[in-house]
Symmetry: D2
């Protein structure tokens, strides 16, 4: 394998895009961590950079001097192999290193990477570089959703920017797509990049099923709310019901009832809910309860993958009924990168598709996203099956 210019371009373009996402922020917005699941933007900037320094520069550039020894400690995330790390819940307590120092760190690592790529021709390097780029794209999506959480939970509700269209309306007529029972092949098959959890490609038997060509809208979901969906335990899992009661959940995240009318915080600020747009920011528990309410169910991830060519997708990550588990003959990578996916394969639900926050070149029919069933800060949605 010879490194193509396109990989270098891909790197540069990706690195720039991360910074572009941050461009509307005030310095203060880079720092805070309102809940443990949300990381401060400065941490994302540093962590994605640390990944390249740790797994490429320190490995492939012999005389490489680390930018700052402390950064390994601060920007390491979950890679237990690589030594101690700052407890996740403490990320928002780190006022230093400053944002400007982190931008210098990014520049330093980018420059070294570019220089290295001009002289080294190593398949191992290219493979990790590609993972690093896709790793950064994953963080771009988290970065945007974390920014939304930071601003959307501020009592002032600051606007982020007008760039993202969160609420595009699906105009095709709603219908059920039928798929016949058969043995289907599931998993990644092209030569393009994929994560380890999309492999190996394998066979699954599916019974007849139907799946909606449209996402559930805010209007649909409002009907659930107004029919007392949040007060009817019969629609919920036992754990979902406990979650609703303990957190007094009464609507999707970012919804506020003001003088009897529903408002929604979007990246453009606080505005009335657009009833025709797809519902977003609901947990798996809510998606499941909504499906029960409609006498339907959520599709499995296999059903979704088989049917996805028959409908358009990409606005919302779509909750599936599938638990996040390894495919048959799943092999996790050696070394620290082996911690990437496999160790999360318990107590999480698979989401399929992608969202308006997903970076370009980062969605494909076999991509498996996963979150705990109570989480809502991603741009999640509902597609029904039966």
């Amino acid at each position: 394998m010879v490194i193509t210019d396109s990989l270098v371009d891909f790197l540069i373009e990706t690195r720039k895009q991360t910074e572009a996402i941050c461009s509307p922020l005030e310095i203060e917005d880079y720092v805070v961590q309102p809940i443990e699941d949300v990381s401060p933007p400065k941490w994302h900037l540093g962590h994605t950079t640390w990944f390249f320094e740790e797994f490429i520069l320190k490995v492939f550039q012999d005389d490489y001097q680390v930018y700052d020894e402390d950064f390994s400690f601060i920007f390491n995330s979950y890679y237990e192999t690589v030594g101690e790390r700052v407890i996740r819940a403490d990320r928002g307590n780190l006022s230093r290193p400053s944002v400007s120092k982190i931008y210098s760190y990014r520049e330093h690592v980018d420059n070294h990477l570019k220089a290295l790529l001009e002289k080294v021709d190593s398949d191992d390097l290219f493979e990790i570089l590609e993972i690093g780029i896709h790793h950064e794209k994953q963080h771009q999506e988290l970065l945007l959703t974390d920014i939304k959480y930071i601003l959307g939970n501020n009592p002032i509700f600051p606007k982020y920017s007008d760039f993202y269209q969160e609420n595009e309306i699906e105009v095709t007529e709603k219908e059920w797509i039928s798929v016949e029972e058969n043995v289907y092949s599931i998993g990644h098959k092209t030569n393009e990049f994929c994560f380890d959890n999309e492999l190996s490609r394998h066979k699954v038997f599916l019974h007849d099923f139907q799946i909606s060509n449209r996402l559930v809208t805010n209007k649909d979901y409002t009907e659930f709310i107004e029919s007392g969906g949040y007060d009817n335990f019969k629609l919920w899992h036992a754990e979902g019901w406990d979650w609703v009661k303990q957190n007094q959940i009464k609507s999707p995240l970012y919804w506020h009832k003001i003088h009897g009318k529903w408002y929604q915080y979007t990246l453009k600020g606080l505005h009335p809910v657009d009833m025709d747009a797809p519902v977003s920011h609901i947990s798996y528990f809510e998606a499941f309860a909504y499906a029960q309410f409609k006498n339907c169910r959520l599709p499995t991830e296999f059903e979704w993958e088989v049917a996805q060519q028959h409908f358009s997708w990409g606005q919302r990550w779509e909750w599936t009924e599938s638990a996040y588990l390894p495919y048959p003959n799943y092999k996790k990578a050696e070394g620290a990168l082996g911690e990437y996916n496999g160790k999360f394969m318990v107590n999480q639900k698979v989401l399929r598709g992608s969202s308006i926050a997903t970076p370009i070149k980062h969605s494909r029919p076999t991509y498996r996203n996963f979150f705990h069933p109570h989480l809502r800060w991603q741009f999640t949605g509902i597609r029904l099956a039966k």
Copy 2:
């Protein structure tokens, strides 16, 4: 359907067996609840009785007077449909009703049931009666494991009885059983009783796999401990690793290292670990880590069901890799009984087989047990696959 004598006999035999399990107890043992997952034995005695009173006597015997109005409140478990209930964690705070009053309650309900069954011939009644009997059998298993927890966490380590053989040794030679890839049918198929979660029978594609004909032994597991298995994060799920660290887990439940030697609390008291017996009282997290340590994996519940005729089982509930999810075309029952299984189908793992605590007529190849991945107080074990 005409009620057969055998169903009445089955009822009486089951009701007696519950009381037989309690016969070695002191009154004080019936009362305590050391952790939320463990219910006091008196609660099991009352709750299984309440089930018959609530769903049979109150429904099918027109002039039925409830034994005590308070008991509906106290012995209701998770049936939100049927009204308020005592919070699960408070069950151990109820010194009243006394144990003797609960035995009177049992006698009262038994007598009414017998009288009713002599005169009423109703398929609906028989169906619920059968569920009630199997419900009580499920509680018999919990009763025994809860008793073990209550006595086994007492610093005096009181003996329960010599009746149960927890540590029978498998003497067949260890070997891998091979199963070929194919579409297999999964789920209950006979006319005998089964729970709703074993239906509907459906097809699953399985790739080639191998499964051990033997359970992992205490000796095998000791090797894992002594090789630092509990200190090697690479073997664990991220959540498993957090669980190990937070709870300082260093061995299976009920193991104690005394003067350098492993002891184990069994129903017969505290004794040296029998190294040739199957390991027990391990969580899914531990089962998974052990499998990683051996470069193997746990079987899925489908693999287990297909292969089970080729090995003997019944000593340990066996953790599978499968998440507890509904089968295709799963229908939950109407009314309060609909809460029985479906609402637990998130964040739990399936166990297959049965254990030395399982009552007779209560195990079958399609039975699906389920627990959260950190729980250990059941007689759980490990069977490897690859």
Copy 3:
């Protein structure tokens, strides 16, 4: 000092009285611990006995064989000096040793004590014996209040007995007693027994003050409730207000509003609140807020001690404004008994007087009781000062 018959009699009478308090209980009532502050009755029975075994029999009877080695572990309370102990919150998980075994333990220790007292004449022994008796009397009071908590938090509200008159009415006319400013002497002065925290007798300067000759009644307190006292933060300490909000406190402990009318659980069962009786089971936070509501204050413990001869007391432990602190020249005892009082002298409030649960020969004007400001399960009351 020669041991008088009266000390032996005092011992025997005290030991019997503890058992008399338990006589109305079912076996099950001895076992439970609904909250950490409440100990199971069987624990009180064992712990008071262990005290005599540990500090007298093991010390003064040379060949003494302990009744059961495990009991030192189980019935030790807070005496860190004497070795490991069962965590307080776990006392309710110990079904064994059984109640009958604990009664045998009591008999064994009593017999040894009596035999020892016939032959040994030691001032050291007599001194510890006297402490042991008074220690058991303290536990008699806790035993009764713990029993009330156990039964009063059972949804069935079982009656304990008709013996105790919780709600005797004060019939004297209400008036303010005036005390003039002066230097007063505070602390124990007679030759009778007292605890170390009542010493040394010392001087305190008091400014002019007035103190009520009557306790606040349920009627008085109902006025506070109905005027919105629990909703008016201005009346409360910041910590008191947090406590009210977090625990949704709306009335004294054991009060229940049923069909618009106040009921109160007493040792005689659930009955309408007797409006003329002194209010009981209120926290210091509530006592303080009530005093603010009346534009008064609580007396200091010094004011109370100086004024107490001018009013009758003994129904309710009375909250004072004083923090529990050592008197000038306070000396804590040597050895394990030194842990008795001094180590609790932070974050607690002094209560003066005694209550209907206080054993005979266990109240005196200098007695200092103390609890955390949020606790309510004692028979506490309010006397105003200004």
Copy 4:
């Protein structure tokens, strides 16, 4: 009363000093809240300004337009009277309003205050102005200690500045000062400003006592550490011992043992502990345990006030044995300012003196500071009595 120029000057000088304290900070340092007790610097800047806007501009300037309605919500602290407020623990989640916007707010309010003071002559205004200035001075001290906590808990240990001399050494020879028993007068008596909790001046009887002329040094305290002071429960209150065990406390806050040597984070960065300097950042629990270790005790606040003229003080806030309670005839202020002190008078300990972080004109012999007994982030110290 005519407003003197000096009061305006005092205001301006105080407002400037708050900003001077922040001058060494990066923007990011203004935002974070590592623990609930520590507020972000930007919050202090806004809150002290809000106080003047809320209690002066909104009251005394008829046509006053509030700078931003949201700020009342965000910068209100504990004044329940004035409406809803951001939960204390969430202060560190507010990236907006930005630091620069808060500085604009300060300027706006300062300008309005100056204009108002030129035309209004009102004793009520001057009284609240004076409280506002002293309120801001209190926050200056908290601001500095909070900054130390924010930087000192950053793994990079950034230096704040060289300005403050935390570790000045007391060179006078150590001796015991004796005070004779008598009735003494306690509390504020001059015409200068004081807080309500320093009144009313009243009489207290003190027995003979001795008090050290010197603070305990780091060397003294190291002796306590090395003699196993943190492992000897006999020296501790029960709650102190629990605190030590739960938090694994082994040294004062900001001490780190690196390669066998003690280092201490100060505002100048991480440096070896200066053994001759007074110990700092210890809790009341530690101060008490140290005194027990030396067979001494802590002085009461009354002893301290009477003796203070005989020794120099001002480096460390000194823990006393006294609980924070109202003086006889204490009157809390009307309205929202009444919440200032009285509502904290439970479960806290009095500290006397002042510290190197105390602003000028903000210390006096009658000043009563108060904190919960486990807190350590202030510049606290120990002076022994006996």
